[in-house]
């Protein structure tokens, strides 16, 4: 782990969750330290998104405890410390008449609070967040007119504008073209290195992700692996077999040959073919 003395940002203890009779998550234990970049991987239907929703308090665990910055998620109120970027595809109506500025401003609304309005200092922060993701020249463009990669940057800016200490991203690269994916990961890496923002990246794209993260967690109903990336690399084959139930070959994504066909990103498993 990157810094073993850093405090925990997230602690998950013995968490289980089921939809009706179907067990989706079983006895999950996980700790994420400040400043780490965790890649949470698992096949479709492995409970990744459910796990995200539990972390964000959108769903309630049947068993176990989740603590954010040391306080239980049920009573956690300081949501501006956490930024969330969801799968872009199903979270917004692309005909929505809003500019990039308006969308990013929404990231501050919870923090500003009821009965208060956007002030000059807020507008400055919004512009800074837009600049941080390199979208300055699109500030007053309609969000629906941007490409998938650009939209995803805007959603990152919306999550960053409240200056979160923890950023949670749920499959952020679905529907984003190959070149943008790489830029996108570079940008995340920079946020992690320079701003010391703790990142949790949920993805099924094991290949591309593993170059950037510091820690890896493999989820498929249970947590199959959770630890340092280097340990993961050593045990990778074994882990993959355990998780997917059969042997898998991971196609490496490197800067040197970054023209793999990413157009199937939304399919079952990019980067992992059996």
């Amino acid at each position: 782990m990157k810094n073993s003395a850093a405090p925990y940002v997230l602690e998950v203890k013995n968490v289980s969750f089921s939809y009706g009779k179907q067990m989706v998550l079983e006895d999950i234990n996980m700790q994420v330290r400040e400043g780490s970049f965790l890649g949470l991987v698992g096949p479709n239907g492995s409970g990744k998104s459910t796990f995200m929703k539990l972390l964000l308090g959108l769903l309630k665990a049947d068993k176990g405890n989740i603590e954010l910055f040391g306080s239980p998620v049920q009573s956690f109120r300081d949501w501006s410390r956490i930024g969330f970027v969801s799968q872009k595809a199903n979270s917004f109506n692309s005909g929505f008449p809003a500019t990039v500025f308006e969308v990013v401003a929404m990231g501050l609304y919870g923090k500003i609070g009821l009965f208060r309005f956007l002030k000059k200092e807020h507008k400055k922060k919004i512009k800074e967040a837009i600049a941080q993701v390199g979208m300055e020249q699109y500030m007053h463009k309609n969000i629906g007119r941007l490409s998938g990669g650009q939209q995803q940057r805007v959603f990152i800016a919306r999550a960053l504008v409240s200056e979160p200490e923890l950023l949670i991203l749920d499959e952020p690269t679905v529907g984003v073209d190959a070149d943008s994916v790489r830029n996108f990961y570079d940008m995340l890496k920079e946020l992690n290195d320079k701003k010391n923002i703790t990142l949790i990246l949920v993805t099924h794209d094991i290949g591309a992700m593993s170059e950037y993260v510091t820690d890896v967690a493999c989820l498929n109903k249970c947590l199959h692996f959770h630890g340092d990336k280097n340990d993961f690399e050593v045990n990778r084959e074994e882990m993959m077999t355990a998780m997917y139930g059969h042997k898998v070959n991971v196609i490496e994504h490197n800067h040197s040959h970054d023209h793999h066909d990413h157009s199937h990103d939304h399919d079952d498993l990019d980067g992992v073919r059996s």
Partner: protein
């Protein structure tokens, strides 16, 4: 409210119309982006139930003799909006079912009560299609108060309403209490519908909520843009409708809606004729 007392009946009507032309598009913009404009139809028919109940109470009980049916209409709209929310939760996978259920219940109950009440055709006609010339001082006061209340709600909760309309999940994770704001929004819709009742009538209320923003969204790039253009188109429809109905000697509520349709067609034509990007110049924040 002495200002109101000095107005002539025509001025009262115009004042009421302008208030409604301003607020309807505000609420319409939020309904539009949430794909919920149809809710205005459901609620307007429930409002009719409240109004018929009010009229019936006036006739049957001396105690209620001075009640303004607009207030009972508002109560029914509020109750209807809560029922729609409830039905949406019950039929999670068929949410659009809530509207026809409420709408038909509203119309059915109204039909029964209308048949009991001893009221002439003209009064019902006024509630169905609106009657700007019969806006009483009491009505104008009702429209003014509900209008101010609606504007305060929209003003104070603008950012929460916008964030929820855009992305409910994100709004929730950013610390906005989505359920409470959604509840407030439903009440707001009921408020606006019952205030518009007298001027455009039950059957035409939805038009003022929908038509101006339908025209506005053809040009708008930002949400503020939709609100701004929506208000301009809304007021234009109201004024155009009042003036043209005066000279043509036809129903004002109907003419307001017809003007709204003309504006919409005109907007679509302008959009088609103008070169791409002509109106999408940078907007300043």
């Amino acid at each position: 409210m002495e200002i109101f007392q000095q107005l002539t009946f025509l001025e009262r009507g115009i004042a009421a119309g302008l208030l409604i032309g301003f607020i309807s598009p505000l609420i319409g913009a939020f309904l539009l982006v949430r794909r919920m404009t149809i809710i205005s139809e459901g609620l307007s028919h429930v409002t009719l139930t409240g109004i018929t109940a009010g009229v019936l109470m006036m006739q049957t009980s001396a105690f209620f003799a001075f009640i303004n049916p607009l207030y009972t209409g508002l109560l029914a709209a509020l109750a209807g909006s809560l029922l729609i929310e409830k039905l949406r939760q019950v039929y999670k996978h068929f949410q659009e079912l809530a509207i026809p259920i409420i709408l038909s219940a509203g119309v059915g109950l109204s039909a029964v009560m209308i048949s009991i009440a001893e009221t002439g055709y003209t009064e019902w006609y006024a509630y169905l299609f609106g009657s700007i010339l019969t806006v009483t001082l009491n009505d104008l006061l009702f429209i003014f108060l509900t209008g101010v209340l609606s504007m305060l709600i929209i003003g104070f909760f603008y950012k929460e309403l916008l964030s929820i309309s855009f992305d409910q999940e994100f709004a929730s994770t950013s610390g906005i209490s989505v359920r409470k704001i959604n509840f407030l929004f439903t009440l707001l819709v009921a408020l606006v519908i019952s205030m518009s009742m007298k001027v455009v009538g039950i059957l035409l209320v939805g038009a003022l909520i929908t038509l101006p923003v339908a025209a506005a969204i053809l040009f708008a790039k930002s949400f503020r843009h939709v609100l701004f253009l929506g208000i301009i188109f809304g007021e234009a429809a109201v004024l155009g409708g009042i003036v043209s109905s005066y000279y043509l000697n036809v129903a004002t509520g109907g003419m307001i809606v017809v003007t709204g349709i003309i504006i919409l067609i005109g907007a679509a034509a302008v959009k088609k004729l103008l070169p791409e990007g002509f109106l999408s110049k940078e907007e300043t924040v």
